[in-house]
Symmetry: C2
């Protein structure tokens, strides 16, 4: 099973590694990290660096293609015609094309979410409408062979769902146990809708500070 994970400068590390940790445990998984140009790719806080062992050009096909998100770097990727063309080309060969967080915006920019329900990070959910996608608030949502996940950590839930689709629920449960994914965050808030307003305001202020400006962000 050939799994291709896109890397690009400024990617969010957990967007990549959450699903990786699940999908790399599928039988015969062969995971490759591909970027526009191979080599060292810095994640969004620069201190974490991963290696893209392949250029996108070298990737002929994939069983699973995964597009991670980022706090702001996705805004560059969605304007990069060459990368979008590679995504379209590889997507044409996949059984599954999946995104985490603002990776969905990149899929949207590649024209792959037209008339599809999709999700992304809560702070930019509205952006999906720019690509004729229908934004929904879900942890992840499947439309045919495309699955989009919400922000950052939601990729883990999505990958377990996909593992279940591919290898059956028993296998997915086993991977969940292997990775001990029975989360108990210190504060038990069930979902984004239940987050107090002041926390949401603080998060938006955090993003603003991180990104300088991002006019498309939804309050």
């Amino acid at each position: 099973m050939k799994i291709i994970i896109l890397l690009y400068k400024g990617f969010t590390a957990l967007d990549v590694v959450g699903p990786y940790e699940v999908l790399s445990r599928l039988p015969n998984a062969e995971v490759k990290f591909a970027a526009k140009e191979k080599g060292i790719i810095e994640s969004e806080y620069a201190s974490m660096k991963m290696i893209a062992t392949h250029s996108l050009e070298e990737i002929e096909s994939a069983d699973i293609l995964m597009i991670p998100g980022s706090t702001s770097a996705f805004l560059q990727v969605m304007k990069d015609a060459a990368t979008l063309q590679h995504i379209q080309r590889i997507h044409a060969t996949t059984n599954w094309t999946i995104s985490v967080c603002t990776g969905a915006i990149i899929l949207g920019a590649a024209g792959l979410l037209k008339k599809k329900a999709a999700t992304t990070h809560w702070a930019v959910l509205g952006m999906l409408s720019n690509f004729e996608a229908c934004p929904v608030t879900e942890r992840y949502i499947q439309q045919g062979k495309i699955i989009t996940a919400a922000g950052v950590s939601a990729g883990i839930d999505m990958a377990l769902h996909l593992a279940g689709l591919i290898e059956g629920e028993a296998y997915a449960n086993m991977v969940q146990l292997v990775t001990e994914y029975y989360p108990k965050p210190p504060v038990n808030i069930p979902d984004v809708a239940a987050v107090p307003k002041e926390v949401k305001a603080a998060a938006l202020a955090f993003f603003k500070k991180e990104m300088g400006e991002m006019n498309t962000m939804q309050p």
Copy 2:
């Protein structure tokens, strides 16, 4: 805030990246990845490679020292006197020393868990007794400045707890929202104790296949 994350060949990627994604968002966080020798470090499925930008020798001190786990590579690290000495030396300077998964076994081997309650991956929980630690089944447990987390994904919960201790609960809640950590695994099993026996048997068989042999594994 100087955060040092240990890398070693065969580390589990999510053990590293889960807490990284939380802790790198602390104010003035400066995260460094250190290994016995700097350079490219392969994670346990080899396809994911990260860069250790520093050797352990170069690290004089840390505010937070984090030791990730692995499926089997920790068995080598716990016998490596030089690495254990570096861990002891850096630990003497920390405000917090934390581990994820079998990283706790490495802390134990470094003599840092004596007479302390600690946790690790469920499959090797009993190993902690070898180091005079008291094994407990918790998502994470704090004893003074040491916090140990359970398997793999538990590092995220532990890091949010630590972010709360350092910057207050409101800040931790904000980081939880930024990383959208409101998990909804496809199958809602609340904890390891509630996992059906056949899933546990499948997970142990998976580990056995992965590792060849690991006599210390608890059934």
